[in-house]
């Protein structure tokens, strides 16, 4: 046995600790807690087995249905608004020569700031009376908008904050892909007389599609499980206007009338949704964009 690394038992030995930990702290809790989704356990009293009624209750609750819609809005916003902007900003930053590092750092900063800080910061920006946003609007004669207090404005306000927080992260990701494109391709295009826009659209974007595809997938997964920014800024309010599935779960599982059984059922629903959506995406657009199956 000159090459111990070729022995499958060695591999088993090395990955065993990881597998054990993964099973112990991830798989087992998931499986064992799934059981509670079929009970009415409130954490204190004895529980009963209630079958699928938790799931029926969730889908029968208009508040939860609205939460699902809000999650879809989060996904839609990030895929159709954020991602084009991300690509645009990445292209812009890639094409400047001076201060590129500065821009790169600046856009990245929000994603290393804690969500609580961002929530409070934007709470000031949206402050109806003295907040800078309303003051700016007042210059144009617009009356004060109660950003986080009015149901119709709260969701856009949270969406913008969430976008602001995460765009920089993806911009840096896309930027790295753009900068990895060999110069020769661009030089050849320039020789052929292609303009800047033509090169961006016909060379850069197709070549970074695999990265964009990953960004889309991460955005979908992120949109499914978004919760922290919602809890910090609005707690799902006003009147459920910004409620997403995960904040609904937090409010139902904990809070005034805790119901851990119901909360677990919601968690399973979120898990299933995220799994189905991401795998659907992978099986359709994702695979095509990553190349190989044109």
């Amino acid at each position: 046995m000159k090459h111990p690394m070729r022995n499958p038992w060695i591999y088993t030995l090395f990955i065993a600790p990881t597998l054990i930990l993964y099973g112990l702290f991830f798989l087992w809790p998931m499986v064992s807690s799934s059981y509670y989704a079929f009970t009415d356990w409130n954490g204190l009293e004895n529980y009963r087995f209630v079958g699928w009624s938790n799931f029926a209750r969730a889908f029968g609750d208009p508040d939860f249905r609205r939460a699902i819609v809000n999650n879809l809005i989060f996904i839609g916003f990030s895929v159709f608004v954020q991602i084009p902007l991300i690509v645009l900003f990445a292209l812009l930053i890639a094409s400047v020569k001076r201060f590129r590092g500065f821009y790169k750092t600046t856009v990245f900063v929000p994603s290393i700031v804690s969500t609580s800080v961002i929530g409070i910061l934007w709470g000031f920006i949206y402050e109806p009376e003295v907040g800078p946003l309303n003051r700016l609007l007042a210059l144009f004669g617009a009356g004060p908008i109660y950003w986080l207090a009015e149901p119709k404005w709260a969701l856009p306000a949270v969406l913008i904050t969430n976008a602001w927080q995460w765009m920089g992260f993806y911009i840096v990701l896309v930027l790295a892909a753009i900068l990895a494109i060999p110069r020769e391709i661009h030089e050849a295009a320039i020789v052929d007389g292609a303009s800047g826009w033509q090169r961006a659209l016909n060379i850069t974007v197709p070549l970074i599609l695999p990265v964009i595809s990953v960004v889309v997938m991460l955005s979908i997964a992120g949109g499914m499980r978004v919760v922290d920014i919602v809890l910090v800024m609005t707690k799902g309010g006003p009147v459920g206007a910004t409620e997403v599935m995960a904040s609904y779960m937090v409010n139902e599982a904990m809070g005034i009338d805790p119901n851990y059984g119901f909360g677990t059922a919601i968690a399973l629903i979120i898990f299933t949704f995220a799994l189905v959506l991401t795998s659907l995406y992978q099986m359709t657009f994702g695979r095509r964009m990553q190349g190989g199956e044109f």
Partner: protein, 466 residues
């Protein structure tokens, strides 16, 4: 060739066992701390009265204490707690309290329920009475029955009202103070616009109208936390449907969707529509409501008597220091029952974990002795404006000088009686629904009729279960 394999395995085993050993020793240490309570020092120190034992000899132990006295407005309460903690630590050898300050709502609705579920609440914690809090935890066996302790200390019959902590004749928590809810008003503003203190609903609404005409919000409000508007709703229910309605919901004698209760919500709805509350209230916290009032943007504020201490502290009340008055909700036309009743709560206090060892029990007993004394009750009243939860002598009560506290006590004295808050009488699911519904009402997404119908539905389901 097997040498390398052997070494690899050996390294793995050593690493793993080192890791496991680290876990193991941690456990042992814990066991050593908690498991051997040194009977010679801890036990038998009944009530911690002696205090003569030199504390250096005692093996140190800690008792966790969760309180909600955080922030500027709570500083007087925190000072009292600190003194009690200090005194108790001096009396019980080796005792060290581990204070953990958590915001009220977070503690009551998020942290404590989760800890109760997991079975690891702090040893002493801030607790609310009533069906959704103390009684629920008591039923689940999580709370210490303090009946023997207060009997031994001789304070069992000193409390004004223990009903919200009493289950089957046993007491599971002790209220730290009492409170009533009513209107605080800005005296200079009332003077400026020639408004006199309202004694009828008509006068109250006229006052609101006058303030509004002059560009001042009549009632400060912050309803991001739905319990804030529900205080006013609760008292309106007490007026329109009568004082016994609050206890009548769970008993089934009063229905949420009855015309009287609906009238209470309808009045609130009317005031919302007339713009009597702070604009954008759904985005404002409880603390924002106080700011609205203190800065003079609003002329009145419906809040609990516990807020009174703010208005004599120049650091918090600024120019408004000493210029705030209090009046109860005036009688309403067509209201049922005695219209002089006021809201009265003895619901916030301390609870204790059922899971205590001998020494921790001693600490809890000493804590109760020091916290629930005439001295501390009087300090709470004088320094903090918190109405006592225990009987105080006329002599002691006469020491009150703060005019606002005097006014509040006068309101209570003149009242025909007190009704509690429905958040302590109805089951949690009904209370939860009431929070959701009041916000819908405020946002204009539901009418008073729809709100009360929805509440009655949940109440009936809950009543059928029990």
């Amino acid at each position: 060739m097997n040498k390398r394999l052997g070494i690899a395995i050996l390294i793995l085993i050593v690493t793993l066992s080192a890791a496991l050993a680290a876990c193991g020793s941690g456990k042992n240490e814990n066991a050593a701390n908690g498991g051997s309570p040194g009977p010679s020092t801890g036990g038998g120190n009944g009530g911690g009265t002696s205090g003569s034992e030199p504390s250096e000899d005692a093996e140190p132990f800690t008792v966790s204490l969760r309180h909600i006295q955080i922030g500027e407005a709570q500083k007087f309460r925190k000072a009292i707690l600190d003194d009690v903690v200090k005194k108790t630590e001096e009396e019980v050898p080796g005792l060290k309290f581990e204070l953990d300050g958590v915001e009220d709502q977070v503690n009551r609705f998020t942290k404590l329920p989760a800890e109760m579920a997991a079975g690891n609440p702090p040893k002493i914690f801030d607790l609310f009475g009533g069906a959704g809090d103390a009684l629920k935890y008591a039923k689940a066996g999580r709370l210490l029955d303090v009946t023997p302790i207060i009997e031994e200390l001789g304070i069992a019959d000193k409390f004004l009202n223990l009903s919200q902590f009493t289950l089957d004749g046993n007491v599971y928590g002790l209220p730290i103070g009492g409170s009533t809810e009513g209107f605080f008003y800005n005296m200079p503003l009332f003077e400026k616009y020639n408004i006199k203190v309202p004694t009828t609903l008509e006068e109250l609404e006229a006052a609101a109208e006058t303030l509004k005409q002059n560009g001042i919000t009549p009632f400060a409000m912050g309803s991001k936390g739905a319990w804030v508007p529900l205080m006013l709703v609760n008292t309106l229910i007490g007026r329109y449907a009568g004082p016994d309605a609050i206890d009548g919901f769970p008993a089934g004698t009063h229905a949420w969707n009855s015309p009287e209760v609906t009238a209470a919500f309808a009045k609130y709805e009317e005031w919302v529509k007339k713009g009597y509350f702070t604009k954008g209230e759904l985005g404002l916290e409880y603390a924002d409501m106080l700011n609205q009032f203190v800065t003079g943007k609003a002329g009145m504020m419906f809040d609990g008597s516990w807020r009174s201490s703010v208005f004599r502290d120049p650091e918090q009340a600024g120019e408004l220091t000493g210029k705030v008055g209090f009046f109860p909700m005036p009688p309403v036309p067509g209201g049922k029952g005695d219209q002089t009743f006021v809201n009265g709560n003895y619901s916030n206090g301390y609870g204790f974990s059922a899971d205590l060892n001998e020494r921790e029990r001693t600490a809890v007993k000493a804590f109760i002795k020091n916290m629930y004394s005439e001295e501390m009750q009087l300090r709470g009243l004088l320094e903090d404006g918190v109405l006592p939860s225990m009987k105080l002598s006329e002599d002691a009560l006469g020491k009150v000088e703060d005019p606002l506290v005097k006014q509040i006590m006068e309101v209570m004295r003149q009242a025909g009686g007190a009704f509690s808050h429905f958040d302590s009488t109805v089951p949690s699911e009904v209370y939860k629904e009431s929070e959701a519904q009041i916000q819908k009402l405020i946002a204009g997404q539901a009418t008073a009729e729809q709100v009360t119908e929805a509440l009655q539905k949940v109440q009936q389901e809950a009543n059928a279960k029990s």
